[in-house]
Amino acid sequence: MSNGNTALAEKYRNNFLQEVIANVEEGEWVRMCMQCGVCAGSCPLGNAWAHTPQEIFMMIRAGKREEVLTSDSMWMCTSCYNCIVRCPRKLPITHIMHGLAHYAERMGLAPKNQPTRKFALEFWKNLTKTGRVNETSLGVKLYFIDGFVSGIKKGLAALPLGLRMFKTKRLDPMAMISSSGCKGKGDIHKILAKAKAIEDAKFQSKNA
């Protein structure tokens, strides 16, 4: 993947905007931004990000490829859609944020320890393994995402909640070991493999 990154960086040298337009989902909208600042001011998490959407769009135009793709900003988007409903130019901002995160991942530039990214990967692994999300094992993974000690601490803190969930049959510890998955698991794997092949081929032909 990082080889792909070098090739693409070379191909679109000095024109990161073109690269985004060609490869990022909804990326063609970036050029419509008029830098009014409404999205930046509307994001409820705005002050927790390094760069607001407004800034990200300006950075794309300014060719700041490395800074954008390694940024943790687009991973912070919670899909609240506040920016989308207010943007006077109707940019699908939320979708562009996710598109950029996805592209950064493909380029191998996404920040490795960003929690949303880690969770997204875990979620995907969990889901695609059996065709069904195993909430127990996903939950446990999430607890231990920052390491063993922190996981135990968090687990103990949440023990009363866990017990109550157990009592009301909302938590099945057996699912940790025996997870049956859904029928036609094999087919799901084939579908996903095919989808990936199509996407990769499309990407390759666009950037050949």
Binding site: M34, C36, G41, K90
Partner: protein, 424 residues
Amino acid sequence: MGDVIATNQTILVVGGGISGISAAIEAAECGKQVILLEKSPSLGGRVSQLHKYFPKLCFPSCGIEINLRRIKANKNLRVITMAEVAKVTGDAGNYSVEVKIAPRFVNEKCTACGDCSNAVESEFDDEFNYGLKQRKGAYLVSNMAYPQRYVIDPRMIGSEDANKAKDACKVGAIDLQMQEESLTINVGAIIWATGWKPYDAKKIQPYGYDRFANVVTNVEFERMADAFGPTGGKILRPSDGKEAKNIAFIQCAGSRDENHLKHCSRICCMASLKQTTYVSEREGKSTVYYIDIRAIDRIDDFYQKVQADENVSFIKSKVANIIEDKDGNPILKGVDTEGYNRYENQHDLVVLATGMEPSIPADAFPMDIKINEEGFIEADESNGAIFAAGCSSDALDVNRAVQQATGAALRAIQVVNKVAGMEG
């Protein structure tokens, strides 16, 4: 209503704002027969509701007065108020126009003494002041109203108050039996000058115009600054009547926005720059929040003058939303574009620079006419001899509206000249 004589050499002008007045006068002074229809009880349109008037910052009353004098002096021009067009049929050079005239309940004997108004108690929202104050049920639209003739609000008819008004009138000008009238006139060309209306600020949800008392629109602000307005020219906060000293202007409120009006309303930047001078005159401070200031050609000098005023500051940012603190102060939230600084600024009062939309909705024209995506009339051959003037064709300032009205008058004159040539 006396007889209205019109032929296919007559020019009909619909809408008695500055554009319609200008077109009508120009054509009448060229010797043409002109009928000017106005929907409200008085001529003048939205310009008469402005406090001052850019770029010279004079009062609009003097311009209107000159025009009224020209109207009174011209025997080719016939003005009919409270009149609307119901239907237009026919073609260029030969139109038949159905006109509906609403009852005023006051005839031409009225001397504008005001006795009827003093006699009644009923009050209604004052349209001239955008509902910021009440007016009596027997009223004169404004001091500058033309004709200088009182009106009885139809909602008062049948009440005790209506009789009080009638009894108070010494010259017998009040006729409570007046009915709506219809007439059909034959004309050769039509100038359509029905103007604009302010975009409905309630629709801009994050700015809370309908939730926060101290968020007003630019048209209301014109009235608030006017000596004959609801506050006698003092800029007072609607919530508590305190004088507003720290005023925010939000540009492009509902314009240049895919969720509202797509077009740039063109005059609201200038209107806000002008309104900062009202604030500075009263020793207040203005902050203008903008995407970019669109002050066109000669008007740029004006922008520079305002920029030099130390009581006016500019923040390049479209405000994201407004909240209100416990004292009713609006707090503006956003991020600026020069430095990406996050702000939460408290002000006494917020003025939304709302834009212009056509006064007639796209589906409500009484004739076939070509309109563009924004609802303004488009010049097109298929319109025959119906020509748009002023803000019914685009968002324009007075200067441009009047130029355009003169153009429309020339086109209409060409049509009726041709008719005359054929008949002569």
